[in-house]
Structures are given as structure tokens and as C-alpha cells.
């Protein structure tokens, strides 16, 4: 009986080891939208290179220890008939020094490139596109603050050019819904504490690791994409009830396409609506939307800088493909309608109030929103 046990444990141990190795080896998968081991830009690549150093070392130590345990368990198992007391060995200074010094040396080897990369990533790159990032509960706002595209504000989608670093200055704010969302009664009095945001973390795994966004501070980082494409990201620091659905995308364009996009975004909102969309335009003001959402060029808009506005700037809403923290598809009128009907039921924790709109009003507002190319 005693001989059987270690053999069984040995087999299971081996099997587990093999499975673990296979799983870990097959871990990186560039097809997955948020795979942290498949870098698509220089920042993520520098970080990934360190993983390529430390991972084989960790696996080596893992195999050494687990195999060692199995060997020891097998070789020194007690046989039923053997009652002799083993040699009472108390230690071996040389061995103990060895397994103190060797791990320390291995760690020192890992430490050198680690430290180098920490400092390399902290530098501000030259000629970067400047973007201000504001983390709100529970969506991201992006404002272009450099010479190019100054004043362009977007939400949930960060558009960048390829092959050029983008320098992000990040803040966390949580402006509250005004007491009255009825137009004309909007109060300018805001509780200063209501602006206090909560901590978020900006993370687009294929472009860069995380940077927390901390209220009361401005945090900076840079990202860069090699190729055009959509890179998924999400908030990575627990920020309240809607944390899990605080998703966003970075959209990388060829530099020419990016210039085109930026120019279009700098235009004021489309103003030539007719029919249903024109009704929606009127409703946008009377139903209360305008209290929280800015539309550039809208003649009665209260304006309001990015950051202190409660909801996303909707000037070019229809040019985006996702809304509400990346949960929904803009082109889908039914999803938009469901959102306007009862925001909390489709995105738990959403701050947009249920305005009690009728189906006709919803239809008109959807038509208006979809006209804001």
C-alpha cells in the first residue's frame, strides 16, 4: 500500500505538469482582442520583451522544483519493512549558500533590463500627438489638445495615427447630473466634491500596459500603434458598479486618414436636419438632453468644456461606432432606442437618467442622433 501511493501521486504530478506547460506555452494568442502577450506597438513590445526573459526562467525553476519534489518523494519513500531511523542531517552550509546565491544571481540578471525599460518608458517622446484623457463613471472622454484638432472631443473611441507616439495626459472626474435636467433651470452651482472622480486605469493591452488615472493628479503615458486597426481596451481599476462595462477602443489610422478624420471632427455639428430628425433636434433641447451633452455649433448649447460635462460630447455621434462605454453599436437604431428608453436596464450603473420618453420621441431622437455624422 505504501509503495502504491507515491507512484500514483507521481503520475498525476507529471500529467499536471505537462498540461500546465502546454497551456502556458499556448498562452499568447494574437487573435484575442485584448491579449497582453501580442504587442502591436513599441510600448507594449518593450514590455513584452521582458516577459520573454523572465518567463523561460520561471518555467525552468518551476520544472526543477516540481521534478525535484517528485524525485525526492519517490526515492526516499518509506518501505513498510524498513524501521531504521535515517541519518539525522541538520543541514549543509555549502548547499544552503549555493541556493541563496544562485537565485540572487538569476534575479540580478532579470533586474538589469527591467530597470532599463522602466526608465525608457518614463521618457516623454518627441513630436507626440497630445490628447487629454478623462476617466468618468463609466466611460472615457478624449480631447485633442495639441495644435492639430484643438477642441475636438470624442468619447469611447480614441483615434490615433500609426507610427507616431501619442502622449496622453489623464485625469479622473465625475461630474454629477444637475439637480434639474429641465433646460433653462440648469443650475451652475455645483458641489465641488461632486467633481471628484474615482480612480480608473487606462489599458489597451496590445498597445501598452496600464496607467492608473487618479483624481487630483494628472497622469501621463504614451501609446503607439504600428498598423491601422481597432484595439480594444477597458478600465482596469475597479471604479464602481459599471466598472466591467467601461470599455473603449483605440482606432489607429494611416497618418493621411487620421488628418482627414481630425478635420471632419473639428467641423461643427450637422445642422440641416429635416423631418423626423428635425423633431429630434428640437427634442434634444426640450427633453433635457442638452443639460448634460454638448453639441458644438448648436446655437442654444450651453457648451461646456470637456471634463465638467456629465455626458459625452455628441457633435459627431454618428461618426463613432460604439457608445455607452463601448457596449453598443451606434449604427443599430434599436440599440440606441433601448438605451434612450431606460439606460440603467441596458447598462447597470449608467448615470444617464430615464427621461420617460415616449416611443415617438425616442424615434425622433434616434433619427437626430444618427444624422450627426
Amino acid at each position: 500500500m505504501r509503495a502504491g501511493r507515491p507512484r500514483r501521486s507521481g503520475l498525476i504530478g507529471w500529467a499536471l505538469l505537462a498540461v500546465a506547460m502546454l497551456l502556458l506555452a499556448g498562452c499568447a494568442n494574437a487573435d484575442l482582442p485584448q491579449d497582453a502577450l501580442s504587442p502591436e506597438g513599441p510600448v507594449a513590445r518593450q514590455q513584452d520583451q521582458l516577459w520573454d526573459i523572465v518567463y523561460p526562467i520561471a518555467i525552468g525553476v518551476f520544472v526543477f522544483v516540481q521534478l525535484g519534489l517528485l524525485v525526492v518523494m519517490w526515492r526516499f519513500r518509506s518501505r513498510g519493512d524498513d524501521t531504521a531511523i535515517p541519518h539525522q542531517l541538520h543541514g549543509n552550509t555549502k548547499l544552503e549558500l549555493l541556493w541563496t546565491i544562485i537565485p540572487a544571481l538569476i534575479l540580478a540578471i532579470i533586474a538589469v533590463p527591467t530597470t532599463r525599460t522602466i526608465f525608457a518608458l518614463a521618457d516623454e517622446p518627441d513630436d507626440a500627438l497630445q490628447v487629454r484623457v478623462i476617466g468618468k463613471q463609466f466611460w472615457w472622454e478624449f480631447e485633442y489638445t495639441g495644435e492639430e484638432g484643438q477642441g475636438v472631443v470624442t468619447a469611447n473611441e480614441l483615434h490615433i495615427p500609426t507610427g507616431r507616439p501619442v502622449f496622453l495626459s489623464m485625469e479622473a472626474l465625475s461630474p454629477q447630473i444637475p439637480d434639474s435636467v429641465v433646460p433653462g433651470e440648469e443650475s451652475d452651482e455645483r458641489n465641488p466634491q461632486s467633481l471628484d472622480g474615482v480612480i480608473h486605469s487606462f489599458w489597451v493591452p496590445k498597445l501598452a500596459g496600464k496607467q492608473d488615472v487618479v483624481p487630483g493628479h494628472v497622469r501621463t503615458m504614451y501609446i503607439e500603434a504600428d498598423n491601422p486597426g481597432r484595439y480594444e481596451g477597458q478600465c482596469a481599476e475597479f471604479c464602481g458598479i459599471g466598472h466591467a462595462v467601461m470599455r473603449f477602443e483605440v482606432v489607429a489610422h494611416d497618418p493621411g486618414d487620421f488628418e482627414e478624420w481630425l478635420t471632419a471632427q473639428a467641423e461643427p455639428a450637422f445642422d440641416g436636419q429635416s423631418g423626423l430628425a428635425a423633431q429630434g433636434k428640437e427634442l434634444f433641447e426640450t427633453a433635457g438632453c442638452i443639460a448634460c451633452h454638448a453639441i458644438n455649433g448648436y446655437e442654444t448649447s450651453g457648451g461646456g468644456a470637456a471634463g465638467v460635462r456629465v455626458g459625452p460630447n455628441l457633435t459627431h455621434f454618428a461618426s463613432r461606432s460604439i457608445f455607452a462605454g463601448g457596449l453598443f453599436d451606434n449604427s443599430d437604431a434599436e440599440q440606441l432606442a433601448a438605451w434612450l428608453r431606460d439606460p440603467q436596464s441596458v447598462k447597470q450603473g449608467a448615470q444617464m437618467p430615464n427621461l420617460g420618453l415616449s416611443e415617438e420621441q425616442i424615434e425622433a431622437l434616434v433619427a437626430y442622433l444618427q444624422s450627426l455624422k
Binding site: 501521486s9 499536471l16 500546465a20 502556458l24 498562452c27 484575442l32 482582442p33 491579449d35 497582453a36 502577450l37 507594449a44 518593450q46 514590455q47 521582458l50 523572465v54 520561471a58 518551476f62 522544483v65 519534489l69 525526492v72 518523494m73 526516499f76 518509506s78 524498513d82 531511523i85 535515517p86 541519518h87 539525522q88 542531517l89 541538520h90 543541514g91 549543509n92 548547499l95 541556493w99 537565485p103 534575479l107 527591467t114 530597470t115 525599460t117 522602466i118 463613471q137 467633481l195 471628484d196 474615482v198 480612480i199 493591452p205 500596459g209 496600464k210 492608473d212 487618479v214 487630483g216 493628479h217 497622469r219 477597458q234 482596469a236 464602481g240 458598479i241 466598472h243 466591467a244 450603473g349
Partner: protein, 664 residues
């Protein structure tokens, strides 16, 4: 020295000390470290079931994408309470259970230095647990994570509402967290002081520091960590409570506070806390492996000093929880280096444990399997810990399931496997009975497989970009399969828990066949009967060797081939309590009448064995704390005053009650 030499005083009848030694009252008033240890163990096991149920709900919810088993709000409460429960109400008290039961036995003492304070620690811990869970019925459980990051923990998880307290004075549900943990901290702080004084002052003659069992050493290190770490979190929680309940501005940026301050204070406590959780398990394994290898611990001094080194270095790594916060490259580089190098003392322990087994005669009963399980699984957690020290890549790892995998390998694969090893190993000592070994092995294998199924895939899904603390995840991210495996693993773990509980329930009804030393073990607690009498040792052992019990059986623990000392061969070495008359006296019967006992040997044979009397006051003082806490939350001066009255009245009674009941 060990018998508390208190003079019987003539207190009034109001302050007469209770005398029950059996029945419920004996448990409510006990100051016996063994009974308190047992209370800690069963309370922690109860909370283990609660925390496990929370984890199970979380895993069932996350089995598939876009799940609607739980609302986001429920999910946030559950993951917060799972963490809080497992850390503060399971693993820490399990450590306390073993420390309480074993520390006096392992150093040859009759009790801890401050027996009533010891009872107080237990009741305060229980009060903290009850208080924290009372939130379930008083407006909702804490929902801001066990890390309680301000300002979210002040504002509440939902910007639209969801608060507790009375109208006009609503506050975040995390108020239950800040007050509950302050109460829990008082319990641990009192224990820490008690264990330190006990270890330094109450060791049996000859028990030098470097002859102490490693579990005792780890207890001492943990007690010092608690002593220095708890005041930090105490201050931070106090500030959080003031911010939340009274509008102070320590952490609100718009009022000049700083949320980063909370993070520094929390993790300056939080990282030593990790070692508070794991070192007792390391101590247990350092007892179990030598016993079942029939060899002394390899490199005792190195294991002890690496434990102390971990205790010191544990203070210098806290900011590795904050690499993504933006502390700047210098701080990140410094903390990255310390984080890597704390792996060195941990590695020393792993290799020394393997060295202990090398050349031994290994037996594999259940405690040994759990101990080897710890060595195997903790190694994985340690290695992923080293990868966190690679700071730039930690920007990717942090706040993902990769980290969840890491700390579950440390806390489940490490701490819990160690505690289960200890639970099987010392069960015969505590009860005189054996756990069923076949069921125990079944439990081990279910846990070993279930734990790897649950937490192994989290490494992968984390590196594939799944953030932690997310109440849901969309389809098409490539996370579905791994999440399903994790949920299957969690269900398997639940089966393992049931097997253990069944084994525990049936084994408790089994026959007392264990005897004093069922495992052929090495340390002092195996010299006395199982279960030990209330006074632990009829005669305080005089310690001559590190592994004193082994030494008495086999003559020498030094190099060479020892041979068993025949019974009666040496007067110095022969103390086999199994054959002593006192060991045959049932523990309960032995306690109440001090005159019954033999004179205490080492004190010159004058005094009778005098054990501290039970007391109601530890329970009473503890009961006042949650009352005051509820008063703060519900803005009730009456409740606050009542809580204060109970606490200070209890303290007055504590001071005024006679130090012992009149002798007849």
C-alpha cells in the same frame, strides 16, 4: 514562572469569577488557550464556508459571458466580501487558532502570558465578523473591494445611490468595512502583544530562542508584523471612517486630500499582511515535513532567519501593488528590485524543505500530502510573484486575473494547504482521535486538482487580457473556455470542503486511540497527553535539545545513526506522559481543583498548579464595540453611548474582579 502566581483576593460577589469548566458557559468565559484556539478554528471554518459560498456564486456567475446570475451590484458586494472574509475572518484567525493552541504547548508553558486578553482577542474578532456581516441586513454589504481605494470607498460604488445609514446622513457601504476592520485589528493587536510576551517570557527552562520549534518562531515573526502593521491600517481606517461618516478630507482631492495616501498606508499594512497570512503555514510545514521524513529540519537556522528576513523585507515591497499608479521610474525601479529579491529568502525555505525530505524515510499520511502540496503550489505563486517584479510587464499583469491566480496560489496553495496540513496533523493532539486518513487523502487530491483547475487557467485568461473585479465580460474575447474550467474547478473545491466536513464530523465521534505521540514527532506538545490537560504539562519539561521530544525518544538528534533509548534507560531523558498517571486523568476533571495536582517541578515543588480563572469580561468588552460601530453608522448618540458604556463598564469589571477565586 508558568503558573500565574496570583494571590487570591477577596472580591465582592458581583465580581466573583465564573467557575464552569464544562457546558456553554465554560466556552463563553474561557481563558484557556486551547479552548480559545478551538473557538478560533471553528469560527474560522464557519467563515470559510461563507467566503467559499461567495466565491462559488462569483464563479457560477462568471461561467459564461454576459451572465445575469448576479447584478453588477451583487457581484461587487460578493467579491469584496469574499476577499475580506477569507483574509480577515478565515486565514488570519486560522493562524490564530494554531498559534493559540500550539504556542504554549510548544514552548512548555501552561498558558499564554495574558489569558483574559487572549479570550478578549477571540471575542473581538467574532464581534468584528458579526458587525461586518450585519451590513447584509442593514442596507448592503461593502462593495468597494478589500483594498477600499478612496475616493470610491467614500462615494459608494454607484454614483446614483446605494448608501447605508439614516436619511440625511447617508454614507458609502464601505463604512462597514472601515469600522469592521478597525474592530478586527484590535483583536489581532491584542493577540500579537500576548504572543510576543508569551514567547519571550514563558519558555520552559532550557528552551533557548534557537531551540524553539519553527512554528513558534513563525508565530513570533507574525506577532511582530501584526504589532507594526496594524497601527498603520488602524490609522488609515480611522481616517477613512472620518471621511465617510464625518466629512473629513484626508482622501478627497477636491478638498486637498489625496487618494494615493490611502494606497500607501493600505499597502504598507497590506504587504506585511501577506506574510502574516503565509508565515504560520510555513511554520506548520516546517513541523510536518521533518516528522514524516523522520529527519530534523534541514538548515533550521536558515529557515528561521529567512523567516525573519521575510518579516523585515516585507516592509520594503508595498509599492509593488501600485506600479501602475504612476509613482515615477525611481520608485518603481526600487520597489521592483526589492520585490524580486524577497524571493531569495522564500526560495531558501523551499530548498530547505526539499533538503529535509532528502535522505529521509518519507511517510505520506494526509498532513504530509498537504505539506508537500504547499511546497509545490506555493512555488508557482512565488514564481508568478517574481514576474510581478518585472515592473514594465507588471503594467500588463496588474489588475488582471493573472494576479488573481498568483495570490490564490499563495493563499490557497500556500496558506490554506498549510493550515489543512496542520489541521490533520494536530487533530490527534487536540482530540485524542484520528481523522480518517482515506477521506483525508481524498480531500487532498480533490483540493489539489480542484485548486489547479480553478486558479491555473486564471494565469492564462489574465495574460489574455481579462481584468479582475469585473462583474461581466463580453463574448468573443477568448475567455469563455478558461472561465468555464475555473468554475468547474471551484465546484470541485466545494466537494472537497464537504469531504473534509464529513471527515471532521465523523472523526470527532471516533474512539480516542491516538495517544500522546501518534506520529513519532519531534516537538514538546507531543510529550503531553492527547488532549492535553488544562495545565498542559504535569511537570514543566526541561529542554536540552532543539527537537526535545525526539531527543527523549532517540537519545540524540545529532549527526549519526541514532538508536531508540530503551524506556527507563536514562532518568533525564525519559518522560513518556502516555504512561504518567496524570495523563489518564481526563482534562476536564483535572482542571477545577488545583490542590489535586502534583507540585510544579521546576519551581521547587512548593506551589500547586494554579491556572487562571475564567472571566466574563473579555466577552462583555468585545460586545460593546459593534454597538458603538452601529451607532456611528446610524448617527445614533444613544447607541454610541451604550457601546462606550459596555466597553468601559466591562474594562472596569475586568480590573476589579479578583485575580482568582478564593481558595478553600
Amino acid at each position: 514562572m508558568t503558573a500565574i502566581a496570583e494571590k487570591p483576593s477577596t472580591g465582592g460577589s458581583l465580581f466573583r469569577r465564573p467557575r464552569a469548566t464544562t457546558g456553554p458557559a465554560s466556552w463563553f468565559t474561557t481563558v484557556d488557550h486551547k479552548k480559545i484556539g478551538i473557538l478560533y478554528f471553528f469560527t474560522a471554518m464557519f467563515f470559510f464556508l461563507v467566503g467559499g459560498l461567495e466565491a462559488l456564486l462569483i464563479r457560477i456567475h462568471l461561467a459564461g459571458p454576459n451572465s445575469s446570475v448576479l447584478t453588477y451590484d451583487q457581484y461587487n458586494q460578493l467579491f469584496t466580501m469574499h476577499g475580506l472574509t477569507m483574509i480577515f475572518f478565515v486565514v488570519m484567525p486560522l493562524g490564530s487558532a494554531f498559534m493559540n493552541y500550539l504556542l504554549p504547548l510548544q514552548i512548555g508553558a501552561r498558558d499564554v502570558a495574558f489569558p483574559r486578553l487572549n479570550g478578549f482577542s477571540y471575542w473581538v474578532f467574532l464581534a468584528a465578523g458579526i458587525f461586518t456581516y450585519s451590513s447584509l441586513f442593514l442596507g448592503g454589504m461593502p462593495d468597494g473591494g478589500w483594498f477600499g481605494y478612496a475616493p470610491l470607498s467614500l462615494l459608494g460604488g454607484d454614483p446614483i445611490g446605494q448608501t447605508v445609514g439614516t436619511a440625511g446622513a447617508e454614507m458609502s457601504r464601505m463604512i462597514f468595512y472601515s469600522i469592521g476592520l478597525q474592530i478586527a485589528g484590535i483583536a489581532s493587536l491584542a493577540s500579537a502583544i500576548n504572543f510576543i510576551v508569551t514567547t519571550f517570557n514563558m519558555r520552559a527552562p532550557g528552551m533557548t530562542l534557537l531551540r524553539m520549534p519553527v512554528f513558534t518562531w513563525m508565530t513570533l515573526v507574525v506577532a511582530f508584523l501584526l504589532l507594526f502593521a496594524l497601527p498603520i491600517i488602524g490609522v488609515a481606517l480611522w481616517q477613512l471612517m472620518f471621511d465617510g461618516a464625518f466629512g473629513a478630507n484626508f482622501f478627497r482631492p477636491s478638498a486637498g486630500g489625496d487618494p494615493i495616501l490611502w494606497q500607501h498606508m493600505f499597502w504598507l499594512f497590506g504587504h506585511p499582511e501577506v506574510y502574516i497570512l503565509i508565515l504560520p503555514a510555513f511554520g506548520i510545514v516546517s513541523e510536518v515535513l521533518p516528522t514524516f521524513s523522520r529527519k530534523p529540519l534541514f538548515g533550521y537556522t536558515a529557515v528561521v532567519f529567512s523567516g525573519i528576513a521575510i518579516g523585515f523585507m516585507g516592509w520594503g515591497v508595498w509599492a509593488h501593488h501600485m506600479f501602475a499608479v504612476g509613482l515615477g521610474p525611481v520608485a518603481n525601479a526600487a520597489f521592483g528590485l526589492t520585490t524580486m529579491f524577497i524571493a531569495v529568502p522564500t526560495g531558501i525555505k523551499i530548498f530547505n524543505w526539499m533538503g529535509t525530505m532528502w535522505g529521509g524515510k518519507l511517510r505520506f499520511p494526509t498532513p504530509m500530502l498537504f505539506a508537500i502540496g504547499l511546497v509545490s503550489l506555493f512555488t508557482i505563486g512565488g514564481l508568478s510573484g517574481v514576474t510581478h517584479g518585472v515592473v514594465p510587464h507588471d503594467y500588463q499583469q496588474t489588475d488582471t486575473y493573472y494576479v488573481v491566480a498568483h495570490f490564490h496560489y499563495v493563499l490557497f496553495g500556500g496558506a490554506l494547504m498549510g493550515f489543512f496540513s496542520g489541521a490533520y496533523y494536530w487533530f490527534p493532539k487536540v482530540t485524542g482521535k484520528f481523522m480518517n486518513d482515506k477521506l483525508g487523502k481524498l480531500h487532498f487530491w480533490i483540493f489539489f486538482v480542484g485548486m489547479n483547475l480553478t486558479f491555473g487557467p486564471m494565469h492564462i485568461v489574465g495574460l489574455n487580457g481579462m481584468p479582475r473585479r469585473t462583474a461581466t465580460y463580453p463574448e468573443g474575447m477568448g475567455w469563455e473556455l478558461m472561465n468555464r474550467i475555473e468554475t468547474a474547478g471551484a465546484l470541485l473545491l466545494a466537494v472537497g470542503v464537504l469531504v473534509y466536513l464529513y471527515n471532521l464530523a465523523t472523526s470527532l465521534r471516533g474512539p480516542k486511540t491516538a495517544g500522546a505521540d501518534p506520529w513519532d514527532a519531534r516537538t514538546l506538545e507531543w510529550l503531553t497527553s492527547s488532549p492535553p490537560p488544562a495545565h498542559n504539562f504535569d511537570e514543566i519539561p526541561i529542554v536540552q535539545e532543539r527537537d526535545e521530544a525526539w531527543f527523549r525518544k532517540y537519545g540524540s538528534t545529532h549527526e549519526g545513526e541514532p538508536e531508540k533509548v530503551p524506556a527507563g534507560a536514562s532518568q533525564d531523558h525519559r518522560h513518556e506522559p502516555g504512561q504518567d498517571h496524570a495523563a489518564d486523568v481526563p482534562a476536564e476533571a483535572a482542571e477545577p481543583d488545583p490542590a489535586h495536582h502534583e507540585p510544579v517541578g521546576e519551581s521547587g515543588g512548593h506551589a500547586a498548579i494554579h491556572m487562571p480563572d475564567p472571566s466574563w469580561y473579555p466577552l462583555i468588552v468585545a460586545a460593546g464595540m459593534p454597538i458603538g460601530g452601529w451607532g456611528v453608522i446610524f448617527d445614533s448618540t444613544i447607541l454610541i453611548a451604550l457601546g462606550g458604556l459596555v466597553i468601559f463598564g466591562g474594562i472596569a469589571g475586568w480590573v476589579l474582579e479578583p485575580s482568582a477565586e478564593e481558595t478553600h
